[in-house]
Symmetry: C4
Subunit: 324 residues, 4 copies
């Protein structure tokens, strides 16, 4: 199926030199951006009414393109390298419930649902803003962030649980103290939760805030707790980020050591290492340090030079002058 | 005492395969969640009055269950692996003053106190929200967070002390500058503390804020200090988190090296290592890197392969495809 | 000068077992706390007038005690271990301009200045709050925080400079955009700085905020800049904290290796190491990991056990069961 | 061209001992500071009108000095050590589009543009605040911060993209929920973006905030998202900062090992190492630890002393008592 193979390549992020694929990428990214822009602009009272017809036509066109794209991806996914999606039926089923495919589906489904059910049109129009997530196909820098969140999911879960406990504790307490002084803002625990969340996240709108002395004392201790609520995910993320980069470096180092078994890095090995480096999202700076690090760890090779011939024992895998 | 042993197992987090224990866990977690929900819902003016009787009956039921649970835990704790709680009398006494036992006691005590003393009923009702902390029995991901806080307690104490000094300094200063312009908000240092805490935690409600030029200049410098107040615990937590994970990795590595003494990890060793990994809260990703790391540190084993037989010197302790 | 030596010991943080010195510490700490409390309470309108005379008497007493303490410290400082303060004249001069001595001086000077010049009494009273900094004598956990700030002072300086540039940029821009719409809040660049600082520190009181479309667009980009302003010191602190602990660990490890030269840690060496650990502010958990770490780095000692006799090659320097 | 060489030296940050160059630095820094001050002060309504003439004369003088400085830098840049700027024509062209040269140009260009076009004078006056960026010539501590931002640019880009997606998502959602209740604040998605940005950055002015129950529930979840938006750049920065310092340490260590090849660090090598350390922005504390670290990593040199002669194997590169 050479045609299916070609469709797959066109839809994927363009390989270097594949100008047709790059044009498809550019067209789809532009269409996504235009859709988001249209949703935002259409919400302007002065614009929405006057140009409603044009917006509708653009919507139909967009759904058509995204629909064809969705079907084409579903058809051609078996050509990819991911073994999970290789089998004709099961592979396509698996793909259709993957996060990225569901995003693509969500981008077109509301349009068809509106034909079947009587849904508020404004709600449907605003739902189109979710099409921005289709950009995930093209933005690989997001991947390392999402990986950190995935690896640290238990820690984030615990932080989230603590936030939930904190909101319940803060809203119950402030309800007790401010209930009588401000029945409109703190008349029940659910009502007080608005203040609790806004305070614990250190946003602090100030539309409601305690007025009694006891309420202010309790509220002050909650603002201090809020520092902790902000510090927790930040600390987890900072630590997780360092560890994720370390982890990726280790994968790279393992490959580097294999390439170094014969003592030199030839052109083919350097290409492979550079490819791996891009896949891992490591910068040239991250990698350039590695041979130095190996030198330091390897006691027998203290200076990185062979004591017999004076050659550098560990060649630089990036090569001179490579920017990023 | 086989019965006591069984009660202990039922109350602990269920071992894999122990379906009765899992059902007990689910029932208790559900009851805790229902109690929290009841407290929140009962505070709604429209609900509290109409269904007061039903809520009271649910409260009696809950206290009965939690009371039985408390006594059962106290009775069966000697069956656990913790040597501190092994002795029949002293062990149970030690357990009864542990944090987790006090939380369990706090969940039922207010109900009985209300019978003895004339306490504001609303206060008692809201106190039931603390039952949410009983979930700590089941949420092991919290443990690593609390461990970081415990290890870094001196640093957090210093940060807290600095916050206290900052609040005193900020409230005294703003009292001087704004005292005459806004006697209702900054009429005394205790009154000015509300502004000081809200500013230093960067919450910034805006219900009170300086209006004089001098007060604004002083207030601006306090907001900058506030950045530091937020940065301190975050920095401590981020650094502490990294070190705690490193510490746990070292424990794992020591065990790993012991398992590797004979050069292979057999099925029993792999099971042990996986158990340890779960206890330490390490992810499969954390651990998978370790053998690579050992490879890198071990100069004589540069490539991780035996130079004689070509076998991998350091087998992967997790085994292929293990997700989390 | 045995008397001078004894005075020095009494004023310093008490050595274990020196009950007289501990009583002096407790008395001084209590007096500082009472002074801070007095300043706060005296600012209450209801209290200040009625009890003015008593507060004044307490002030005279406090200044007398703190004055004697200041002179005694200046007299006895030459007995300390710090070589800078050893010489009778130059050493005392050097001490008198150290941070801690200036804090002590600042705690008593205002009282005497009030006798010489006609200064606003309320200002002087509030200045007494600065006596809280005298607690620095006794709170050693602060020391590691201040050391991190000192080591990273260049980075913090750069962050502070960027904040200054940000404030100038933000206030100039918002002045341009909001100058005409809100002349009372954004009538000049200095006036607009209040908004700029409050926004860049993410406090956001909301007493002034942009109302024009252009001003809101500019303001939104400034709030995003604010995230960076908060992130910079936090990142510096988190990184600096990790490095400071690493640095202290290296000092400890150097000592540990020296103690381990003969392969065992005897009672005297363990006492020395524990003393060093306390001085460095390292926890038992930080240190317990170190011998494991050494084991891992030392390739010849893979399992930490002697291959000949089976003894642990690297004994635990903390000893079993030491909590903190 | 000895004159050109001298001009280059005068304009660069003064070498130690070059008093004329230091005076030029001081004069230019003072002029920049005065310009910033003039811009700020001139915006005061009471000042701007009365002293307009004097401010204009100062502006002409400043532009003259900065213009001469700009041309002198362009003329003398070929004398520098940067190989990119060495060639007479191409080097100067390359320099003229470098960031630092564009800042210098931006500092004088508006003055001349005002002569050619009819631009709002107030706008031009405020633009002079950008001259503060000319201080980048003299503030080397900024460099490491900017390097971290440069190296982590992909991660920051991803965080920025997520912020954009978050703003679109938040503003679309709140538009749906609050559109009818508050048509003046949430009348369109662009209008709602103001609330979205202010909330996601946790600034929270409170000038607009949701009032409906659904809006508050949605808004609360957005404030929680805001914690993540603040945590992301902080985590990236904290991790990036640690890695950048590690990277610079590795460069230093490589040089250190080379100096140590003969086992001693002589006076010339120590000078070189100190120069490198300053260029890398490492503190004496960072570096002093390194020889200890090497000692630890080098198994054959466990105690850092030669087993034959007892001399320290790794001399301290900083020398005793060097403060910073």
């Amino acid at each position: 199926m050479r045609a299916r193979r070609r469709v797959f390549e066109l839809l994927e992020v363009a390989a270097p030199g594949d100008r047709a694929s790059r044009r498809v990428d550019t067209a789809l990214i532009s269409l996504i951006a235009l859709n988001v822009l249209a949703t935002v602009v259409e919400s302007l009272p002065a614009v929405g009414g006057a140009l409603g017809e044009s917006f509708y036509r653009f919507e139909v066109l967009s759904v058509a393109v995204f629909g064809v794209e969705y079907l084409a991806r579903l058809w051609s996914v078996v050509e990819g390298e991911d073994p999970r999606y290789r089998s004709p039926v099961l592979g396509r089923l698996r793909y259709s419930v993957s996060a990225i495919a569901l995003i693509d589906l969500l981008a077109i489904l509301p349009f068809f649902l509106a034909g079947l059910f009587a849904i508020d049109l404004r709600f449907l129009r605003v739902l189109r803003i979710l099409r921005i997530f289709k950009l995930s196909h093209y933005f690989s820098a997001l991947e390392i962030l999402l990986e950190v969140v995935r690896v640290e999911r238990h820690a984030f879960g615990a932080a989230f649980f603590l936030l939930g406990v904190g909101v319940l504790f803060a809203s119950s307490g402030i309800y007790l103290f401010e209930h009588e002084a401000q029945p409109e803002a703190f008349g029940s625990i659910p009502a007080a939760m608005w203040w609790a969340v806004v305070t614990l996240t250190t946003v602090g709108y100030g539309d409601v805030s305690p007025v009694t002395a006891a309420g202010k004392m309790f509220g002050a201790s909650i603002t201090v707790m809020g520092i902790g609520m902000v510090a927790l995910p930040t600390g987890i993320l900072a630590s997780g980020f360092s560890r994720e980069v370390d982890r990726r470096k280790r994968v790279y180092v393992a490959q580097l050591h294999q390439a170094l078994e014969d003592g030199v890095i030839d052109a083919r090995e350097r290409r492979q290492l550079e490819g791996l480096r891009h896949d891992l999202g490591l910068t040239a700076e991250d990698v350039r340090g590695m041979t130095t690090q190996r030198r330091r760890t390897d006691p027998g090779r203290g200076t990185g030079k062979c004591p017999h011939c004076g050659e550098a024992l560990v060649p630089d895998p990036v090569g001179p002058g490579s920017g990023s």
